[in-house]
């Protein structure tokens, strides 16, 4: 039976952007408030999963042509690489640092190396969650 999912697909096209925005917001708010790479990554993965549900795996793979196993690995790699960064500066492993910079147009902004670490965490979470969902859906 061919199911009619026009409504789901129409809603998804809008909702995905809301979810993605929330993911980015959560990711950056994690610096000083609840949120961070893990939560941000989970919400990002939720957006991808919604796309898979509303359309199907092949359509999603056409839109996002990544091997999600490699995405996860890339995340892990970034996480550990930031740890290794501290070896270059001769400070204990995983030491993080931050600084305030004057950015044109935006004004005073705070940058910290922990953000790179969090990017890695987010990518790892997205990669792992989507890989799990994809392998389960292939099994059925």
């Amino acid at each position: 039976m061919k199911s009619n999912d026009v409504i789901l697909q129409a809603v998804t096209k809008i909702v995905v952007f809301i979810i993605l925005t929330l993911a980015v917001y959560l990711f950056f708010s994690g610096h000083n408030n609840p949120g961070g790479g893990f939560i941000g990554g989970l919400v990002l993965a939720a957006a991808v999963v919604l796309l898979i549900l509303a359309f199907d795996v092949n359509t999603m793979q056409r839109a996002l042509p990544f091997d999600f196993k490699v995405v996860g690995a890339l995340g892990g790699f970034i996480v550990i690489a930031t740890g290794f960064g501290s070896l270059l500066f001769d400070v204990p492993f995983l030491t993080q640092t931050m600084g305030e910079f004057d950015v044109p147009f935006f004004g005073e902004m705070e940058f910290s190396t922990v953000t790179i670490f969090e990017v890695g965490v987010a990518l790892a979470v997205v990669g792992v969650v989507v890989t799990i969902i994809l392998s389960i859906s292939k099994d059925v």
Partner: protein, 493 residues
């Protein structure tokens, strides 16, 4: 003081494992990279071991957070000796895997998961924080779940379900134990735990919590709670089984030693007595298992169980000589169990069966294999020039000094059972009329023999050169028996 080097034995395998995912298609490159990562690892741990001798216990506070607030790695002789041995054993198991594991598994990230496994094992040895220990246990276990099931044979899937179930249960108990301990004492740094428990005294409540941890580590180490072990160690391919037999139970043993010498050492009449009883029962059960089965996989895995019991005799006795003996025996056992599993695996690969009644006269077809099996048998039984001897003598000496005669008897009876069980394998499989004609003979690959030969050399070398590692072992035993050395290095530095 900068000790970033301490993190490398854990991070190098982790990074290698992740990197190998990117080069999934280049199997040959994967082999070389993982092999060289392990060799570098071994070199680094040897360097750290020597630094400990001159500078005392080293520590690394992650992110600069000083203990007891942050997570840290602590390297004393005991942990680094185990890291070094596990690196060497992994090198040789990898060599064996190169020519035996097969394309299908290599394509499914086999080498990545071996690296993750080693990262978890080394992290467990090095960490100085209880929750971090839990995390590394999980890293190790997750990798091992994959390695048990990889290949997807019926037997593997059946055993992996049991293996996963029992380990999830024990991880849960571990977590509950950590929660209890944190609720009672308010810290998770191992040195700080030890200090606080020494201050308030080991109350009955704390002793109960310590027994909870004992259950967890017994499950992981195969101390009395070993019923899951023979099945799940017999299922995976030989190279993986050898890694498991050599490394996984040893992590449980390490954690148990650390806990009951550093943290819960105030009530030996309760905790150490229980350990002694469990060790005795383990040796009895393991001995019965080792002589009961006709499948060499079962015989070999029950030999792991006996060795676990034997090592814990040293902890139960807890005299300097016995602890030293246990450490010697632990190192010896990692090497020899890897060798035993590889040899048994080679026999199975060659004959296509694990049942001893279906094979005979292999020594005529493969003389080198037969003689190596003979040597490993003598080494496990504790015959003098080989590496098992010194550990057995020291544990025995400790048991006599402290009057643990029952354990002493059981320990040496179990050695006879080890000898008998392997002699049975030797007589059935290697002696007698050969049943393989020269045309049907499968060639013995170089890649299978070389790692075995190297391990044989290691057991002979460790036996003859016991003197050369005596410095490290006695330092390790000294640190285990004097917790204040460890505490000083972590907290008052």
């Amino acid at each position: 003081m900068m000790n970033n080097m301490l993190v490398l034995p854990m991070v190098i395998p982790l990074l290698t494992g992740i990197f190998l995912i990117f080069i999934r298609r280049y199997i040959k490159l994967q082999k070389w990279i993982s092999l060289s990562a392990m060799i570098v690892n071994a070199g680094i741990s040897f360097y750290i071991l020597n630094r400990i001798q001159s500078e005392g216990i080293l520590r690394l506070d992650f992110g600069g957070w000083t203990p007891p607030f942050g997570i840290l790695f602590v390297a004393d002789s005991f942990s680094v000796l185990l890291v070094l041995t596990s690196s060497i054993v992994t090198i040789l198991c990898l060599l064996f895997a190169f020519s035996s594991i097969g394309k299908a598994k290599e394509n499914m990230f086999f080498y990545s998961f071996v690296n993750f496994l080693v990262a978890g094992v080394n992290g467990s040895f090095l960490t100085g924080d209880l929750f971090n220990l839990y995390v590394f246990f999980e890293v190790m276990l997750l990798a091992s779940y994959v390695l048990v099931a990889l290949g997807g044979e019926k037997r593997q899937l059946r055993e992996s379900i049991k293996y996963v179930a029992i380990n999830i249960l024990s991880s849960w108990i571990f977590l509950v134990g950590i929660a209890y301990l944190y609720g009672t004492v308010g810290t998770l740094n191992m040195a700080h735990l030890s200090e606080r428990i020494a201050e308030v005294g080991q109350t009955p409540l704390l002793t109960v919590i310590s027994v909870l941890f004992m259950i967890v580590f017994s499950l992981k180490a195969g101390l009395f709670l070993y019923y899951w072990l023979p099945g799940s160690y017999g299922a995976p391919p030989p190279a993986v089984a050898a890694l498991f037999g050599a490394l996984l139970t040893k992590v449980g043993i390490y954690a148990m030693f650390r806990f009951f010498t550093l943290i819960f050492y105030h009530e030996p009449s309760i905790t150490h007595t229980i350990i002694g009883i469990l060790a005795g029962l383990t040796m009895i059960g393991g001995s019965i298992g080792a002589v009961a089965y006709k499948d060499i996989r079962q015989v070999v895995t029950y030999n792991v169980v006996i060795a676990v019991g034997f090592i814990f005799v040293g902890l139960a006795v807890a005299t300097p000589a016995a602890i030293e003996g246990s450490i010697y025996y632990l190192i010896h056992d990692m090497i020899v169990k890897a060798l035993l599993f590889l040899l048994a695996g080679t026999v199975i690969l060659l004959t296509g069966t694990g049942r001893m009644d279906k094979m005979s006269g292999l020594i005529r077809n493969y003389p080198s294999l037969g003689w190596m099996f003979f040597i490993v048998m003598l080494s496990l039984a504790g015959v003098p020039p080989l590496s098992g001897f010194i550990g057995k003598v020291l544990v025995g000496q400790g048991a006599i000094e402290s009057g643990h005669y029952v354990l002493l008897t059981l320990a040496f009876l179990s050695s006879i059972f080890v000898l008998y069980s392997l002699l049975r394998v030797f007589l059935n499989c290697f002696w007698g009329e050969t049943i393989i004609s020269e045309e049907d003979e499968r060639p013995l690959k170089k890649g299978w023999v070389i790692p075995c030969v190297l391990l044989v050399l290691a057991t002979i070398g460790l036996g003859l050169g016991a003197e050369s590692i005596a410095v490290y072992v006695s330092d390790a035993a000294n640190t285990l028996l004097n917790p204040e050395i460890y505490i000083d290095a972590v907290l008052n530095d």
